[in-house]
């Protein structure tokens, strides 16, 4: 790190240049974040506010969108409403203002958990298999290495959805339709080629001498891999994991096609909220906001590894 900053300091920009650069970066960040910010704000509007024209920037925040997201509701007549006991909690109170009562929880929580299981499960599997394959390709003399690596890459040369029909039929035969395992395997199959290629690049950069030293000192090949290679590949593993998670988390087409109930993920579920009792934009926006969180948290947690870069500081040159 310090080596890097001193290398830059040769052409330390003037403070005026820094100001201009700062304004440009912040400006660009604001523009790209506008849609996200709008979604976030819409989540806290009431349904009338969310579709008012001109659009409201200043409004009274409400959690109605979130309440609607997590509940199903039924409409009641005013007389029925009057007959009810006082609302038990804030959610009930909000719902009753719209002449409705809470009928039960919505499926959002379940769908969200499916996304978590399938997204993180397939990321984990892609990383485990990808790291081991990349290590083998990097370190052992494997016949036809180049051809095999090309084959692995070629699995991504057409859009995965192009094989949707065969996969649909195959999954029905195998009983994998609408199962967590089926979706994990599918997303892993799509991600694995990216994982192998990215990780091979990172592992190639780790000098073999590190493992060889461990082998001479009496460690087994697997121990050397585990104790020496993995810690140094952490940066590569972290960035690969983020790519894999983002794909699996956001995937829509296969999720629509292959899941309907049991293993349905959040992306196909969120749009269905619109249909329930009018255009409920705040609930959709609330769903989108919550849906964004895991990838954001995951990325922030791994940020240290992403920014740290690869330290080969202990190299004598």
């Amino acid at each position: 790190m310090s080596g890097l900053s001193s290398a830059w300091s040769v052409t330390e920009p003037s403070s005026r240049q820094k100001w201009i650069a700062g304004i440009l970066v912040i400006g660009y960040a604001l523009i790209t974040m506008m849609p996200l910010l709008w979604v976030f704000l819409t989540g806290f509007k009431t349904p009338p506010d969310s579709i008012s024209y001109p659009p409201k920037v200043i409004f009274e925040p409400s959690v109605e969108g979130y309440v609607n997201l997590f509940t199903t509701r039924t409409r009641v007549t005013p007389s029925q409403l009057d007959a009810l006991p006082p609302p038990a909690n804030f959610a009930e109170e909000i719902v009753r203002q719209r002449d409705m009562v809470i009928a039960g929880p919505s499926k959002f929580g379940e769908r969200f958990m499916n996304s978590v299981i399938i997204g993180f499960g397939s990321t984990f599997l892609s990383i485990v298999l990808g790291t081991m394959a990349a290590y083998a390709f990097s370190r052992f003399r494997i016949p036809f290495t180049d051809d095999l690596m090309f084959f692995i890459l070629s699995t991504r040369m057409m859009p995965p959805i192009a094989v949707a029909i065969p996969i649909f039929l195959m999954y029905r035969q195998l009983g994998l339709s609408d199962t967590h395992l089926g979706m994990i395997l599918l997303y892993t199959a799509v991600n694995i080629s990216l994982a192998v290629w990215l990780l091979k690049g990172f592992i190639d950069e780790i000098p073999r001498e590190y493992e060889e030293a461990a082998l001479i000192d009496g460690y087994t090949r697997f121990q050397a891999f585990y104790k020496v290679v993995l810690p140094q590949a952490a940066t590569g593993i972290a960035s690969t994991a983020i790519f894999c998670l983002i794909f699996a988390w956001n995937e829509y087409a296969f999720a629509v096609l292959l899941t309907s109930g049991n293993a349905q993920t959040a992306p196909p579920f969120i749009p269905t909220i619109i249909g329930v009792g009018g255009l409920d934009w705040p609930a959709v926006a609330a769903g989108a906001t919550i849906f964004l969180l895991p990838v954001m948290i995951f990325t922030i947690l791994l940020r240290k590894h992403l920014l740290r870069g690869i330290t080969f500081g202990a190299v004598r040159k």
Partner: protein, 332 residues
């Protein structure tokens, strides 16, 4: 500690012959230095002994047993690599303890701690034990990587140019330290380098490598005084041996000799053929004279306060010359 023997070892990488028919006897307690320029096969020799490279022909024995087919761990060797010696994700302490924590060793925590402290003491790095390996200077990294080998007590220590990246002062300090440590432990050591000073000062025996072949093996003094070839003669000695056509000083060359080899100290001044002084280098403790003899350059030494200056004339004659034939082999 044990004897290590290489018998007719050869190793190819594709079409390059890295080692050719290499035989070498390292006796228990020997400090053998292999000298050779880059690409001579030094690293390959060490890797073959360690079991990191498999040899194509010949045999290697450690302590009398052939190590063919044994894994690096089973060979009981310790190695200091030319590069990439320390694990950047570990502290100095953990780097030093790493070999001791291997499944091979089964030492308890206290024993590991004691051993690490002992080696750190010897190499003067005790105060850096809790630093990250990346937060060390070049000299300290070097000590730690040597320490990583010294914590163990293997059949042989293999060291691959461990001092080559250091500045002159540190290098001479570590040379002395390493020699002392080796003598104290009675360790058997195979040390490869392209630095002739390391070879001359540390070795009990020196091997000279030329393109994968061992061209001479003996005590430093023997190799210096009785080089088998012009190649070996130019590898040892500074300033380098002067190589001139055999007849520049008149008759007297043995039959077959085409080159006369004159070490700077083997040139007597004040008699013989006259030469012109072209350059005078005052080095403080000695003075180097660059001479011109019929268009041939010649370097010799003279006393520190020499009054000679460029353009002066000086007559010189050979004393104890070495003779070589047209292929560079020693004659006479």
């Amino acid at each position: 500690m044990a004897d290590v023997r290489l018998a007719s070892v050869s190793k190819r990488f594709g079409t390059t012959a890295a080692l050719t028919d290499l035989s070498l006897d390292i006796e228990d307690g020997d400090f053998v230095v292999m000298l050779g320029p880059t690409g001579a096969g030094k690293t390959t020799t060490l890797r073959s002994i360690a079991g990191l490279d498999t040899i194509d022909g010949g045999d290697i024995t450690i302590g009398g047993h052939s190590v063919a087919g044994l894994t690096p761990a089973q060979r009981d060797v310790a190695m200091v690599f030319q590069q990439y010696s320390l694990y950047p994700h570990l502290t100095v302490r953990d780097n030093l303890a790493f070999p001791l924590k291997s499944p091979l060793m089964s030492l308890d925590k206290a024993a590991i701690k004691r051993k690490v402290a002992e080696v750190a003491e010897v190499l003067h790095i005790s105060h850096k034990l809790d630093n990250k390996a990346t937060a060390l200077s070049g000299g300290e990294m070097q000590r730690v990587s040597i320490g990583r080998a010294l914590v163990r007590d293997p059949a042989i220590y293999l060291m691959d140019e461990p001092l080559s990246s250091l500045d002159a002062k540190l290098r001479s300090e570590l040379r002395v330290e390493l020699k002392r440590v080796q003598a104290d432990l009675g360790a058997t050591l195979l040390y490869v380098t392209h630095d002739q000073i390391e070879a001359m000062t540390m070795a009990t025996r020196v091997g000279v490598l030329d393109k994968g072949r061992l061209v001479q093996f003996g005590t430093p003094r023997d190799v210096y005084e009785n080089p088998a070839s012009l190649y070996v003669a130019t590898r040892l000695g500074l300033p380098r041996i002067n190589a001139l056509p055999a007849n520049v000083f008149g008759a007297g060359a043995p039959s077959g000799a085409t080159t006369i080899g004159l070490r700077p100290e083997h040139i007597r001044q004040g008699e013989g053929r006259s030469t012109r002084v072209t350059r005078v280098e005052h080095l403080g403790d000695q003075t180097r004279l660059h001479l011109d003899l019929d268009g041939h350059a010649l370097v010799t030494l003279t006393d520190a306060h020499s009054a000679l200056s460029p353009g002066d004339t000086l007559s010189v004659t050979p004393a104890n010359p070495l003779w070589f034939d047209s292929a560079g082999a020693r004659v006479g």
